[in-house]
Symmetry: C2
Subunit: 295 residues, 2 copies
């Protein structure tokens, strides 16, 4: 796939704003996330302080964002990014089994509200995964447990059920599930994940379930898990007023950078991050051209 100038991860107000400003600066953009946009926006009952939209329903503001992206020619690539690797001269984004290349990256994934489950971080990559598309082949014909933090994760569980022999699904939400009959839904509060005899054990308040692989699926992944080497403070990415992180070429914006968790704050930071990323990409290009000329 062609390398883009700026990959933007997340389709909340920060990511949408970053994409609009980046295309306005004539940059080739890949905007990765849900076409439904951020659940935090779409599910908001009423937003009163996004200037220009008095007392707007979250769903209506999201619709206005979608129309704006369309008018600007920005498409949403509906892929989950498993990891971002700094390759020296560019960045590689793992999206399922593919890799996407970008000159610069803007993180706009929102903040992980949930604490990781006990055992989750320790077993990540050793039986625990955040990406069904990436790791399903490892559990072909085996048992997978899915801990899903929103109904959107059900599509992943349904996909796994086509590959695995058995899928256990632990919904971490109240809504009814709409899963194929082959998926076993377990409505028990998960308390942790353990290793046991070469298998994984999902512990709940009332029992324990054995699986070969455990998928923990949330809307957002902890930022330093997503981008190795990224400086964070608790759940937040450390940024300066230019939305630069400690990694050159990686910018962050929105709830991910800290409170207040507000729509227009996120949109404003997306704008600043996009301008920073555009300047970064342009400067790198000029350096390369100068290096070529002096050879």
């Amino acid at each position: 796939m062609e390398r883009v100038d700026i990959a933007i991860i997340g389709t909340g107000p920060a990511g949408v704003s970053a994409a609009l400003t980046a295309v306005n600066r004539n940059k080739r953009v890949m905007l990765l996330g849900s076409r439904e946009l951020s659940e935090k926006v779409t599910k908001a009952h009423e937003i009163r302080n996004y200037p220009g939209f008095p007392q707007v329903k979250g769903a209506d503001l999201a619709e206005a964002f979608r129309r704006h992206l369309e008018a600007a020619g920005v498409e949403i690539t509906e892929k989950r990014v498993g990891a971002v690797y700094a390759m020296g001269d560019y960045f590689a984004l793992q999206t399922g089994e593919e890799m996407q290349e970008a000159e610069a990256v803007i993180l706009a994934t929102g903040v992980v509200q949930a604490h990781p489950l006990p055992g989750e971080k320790e077993l990540l990559g050793r039986g625990v995964s955040y990406c069904a598309t990436c790791d399903a082949p490892l559990y072909r014909g085996k048992t997978a447990a899915v801990i899903g933090y929103s109904p959107r994760e059900e599509a992943e569980a349904a996909f796994l059920s086509q590959v695995c022999e058995k899928v256990l699904y632990f919904p971490v939400y109240a809504e009814e599930t709409g899963l194929p009959g082959s998926v076993q839904v377990i409505r028990e509060k998960v308390t942790g994940i353990e290793q046991a005899d070469g298998k994984r054990l999902v512990r709940t308040e009332t029992g324990a379930y054995v699986a070969d692989g455990v998928f923990v699926l949330r809307e957002a992944v902890a930022p330093d898990t997503l981008v190795p080497g990224l400086a964070t403070e608790g759940a937040h990415v450390t940024v300066n007023r230019k939305m630069e992180t400690n990694l050159p070429g990686v910018f962050a914006c929105g709830d991910l950078t800290g409170t207040p968790y507000q729509y227009v704050k996120a949109a404003g930071e997306g704008n600043v991050a996009a301008i920073g990323a555009a300047i970064y990409v342009d400067a790198k290009r000029r350096q390369k051209e100068a290096a070529l000329r002096s050879e």
Copy 2:
């Protein structure tokens, strides 16, 4: 006049956003500035990256802001603030001949694009003034020169012509003037202001004009002139990510805090400043209550 919780100076996207968030946080707000909102917004031909408004005319975005302020019950107080003084426990804002009191202040005045004229800063308060309403009485029956940076300043010159014997008006813009016949319009480029024999001398590229007082009228005043003691870097106010300045209780947002000069960046910062100011006001109130209880 009753003391308000938060005085917000400036009605561009930063000030409007700050006001909307502050009233949302149940704070008593005074929003000071032009009811026409920021000229930078209203005169923008097309804005392409304010998320939610695809390819919007500046005038239409300003209209959406005005409707939003109205829906939120925020009125604009159309007064020019000459100075903000920290009084220890509160702030006093000089607005013409009145003083307005506030617990906290948000600066959203935009950035002063023009450099000060040679002599302007040196003679400020000694024959040079930024506020016609404040200082007109000093020049009753005398000669005033007005250097006006936008057609909006013509109203000030017209007011001065009712008080002064003679008013010279130097427009720093191309538009036609619409001034009373008693005002002498001089279309020459002003190069500086000097002291001469107890009077002021306005120098232009082609001549020199004597006046008792010189009024330099721009949409925005240099921030450290407006707020004595405020830390600045060049034309910008120094702020941290919470939009706090070096003065406790004084916040800044928008173009005033630095580049990029972008509408949604300004709106985002206004939101953060308002939340910071609301938290500051609440904390101060709790401290006072605790002090009263312990007496």
